[in-house]
Symmetry: C2
Subunit: 178 residues, 2 copies
Amino acid sequence: MDRTTGIFVDGMGAAAATSGILNQLQGRIFALLYLQPGPLSLDEIATELEQSKSNISVNIRGLVDWHLVRRSRVGGSRRDQYEAAADFWRVMQEIMERRFRWNVRQVLATIDETERAVEEERGRRDWVQFVTTRVAGLRAFFAAMDAGFGAFAHGKPLDPAALKHPLLAAVPRPRPRG
Amino acid sequence: MDRTTGIFVDGMGAAAATSGILNQLQGRIFALLYLQPGPLSLDEIATELEQSKSNISVNIRGLVDWHLVRRSRVGGSRRDQYEAAADFWRVMQEIMERRFRWNVRQVLATIDETERAVEEERGRRDWVQFVTTRVAGLRAFFAAMDAGFGAFAHGKPLDPAALKHPLLAAVPRPRPRG
DNA sequence: CAGTACGTTCAGAATATTCTAAACGCTCTG
DNA sequence: CAGAGCGTTTAGAATATTCTGAACGTACTG
């Protein structure tokens, strides 16, 4: 591997490792493919990155899932070819929906469960009141995030105003009088 | 711990574990504190979550760093008290700046290095040309992300348009005639 | 100023993740 | 239809992360 590619591969690997989306090896695989004029096979990638073929196989699947890499099969050959995709907006949409929004919904689901549980608590009326209020505050914020991320992934601007005061934003405004 | 808190703690722990920001224990600590009417000490948290005090000590520091938990010391006591913060927008700003944007800048720094390296490559003129173009495409996208995240953290809307066609957005538009 | 009540650090144990090499199964080929 | 050339699965090795308990430092307390 030439010096330029080495620097790019190392740097992108390090960035990926702290991304919370890809691991280091996935960052390296993508970086390698991104600087190639043509597609590479599994074996070529494994050799270049000094990793086992099985490890590349497993990790490249994640890259294909995020639409960061395209898999193709040329002619009648049964050898897969891989190349980097360059539609980063598409990747970001995917991450928004399948990672961030999915995570937000985990929280919303937990809030649902918690609200159901607190309704069954016997006695301790003001504690129940307190928990209900707190959980409502969390729900307002995460509901706003869910809506905001959803809109963003569909190409609409994400306005932080809804996150600053989610409780206010969640409540329908009184109509201004004529 | 009562049933309601248990459900909330477990759910938030699971969500945190896949967040890429907090680990499971940090999610559990925050959840426990969030349903408490008053602050708790390190030892109380450790007992409730069945973890060693040292482990709580280390992990709660991260929560304080993200402004998810406030540390206070009441009166002349030397016992720290912790309570959940509820300004989630502040937390999001912190994450935007110190996590996402920092990560984006890692990529931009790698691109800088790569461009410097490719300039020193001898021969292979069309390969150099190819790499330069590709890296420019990546830079345009990540520069747009950096700008967008920065604006968002300062309360301005984040418009996906700049990410859809970053190369176009980066170039100043020709003035319309007339 | 010795004793106690804390928070933190650290070495090593427990656990989870990443990686390899061998085994497997599929598909094309002669 | 046997063999070669693939990608994938899997058991276990290598490595990284998380967790504990003991040791330590500091600041109140009697």
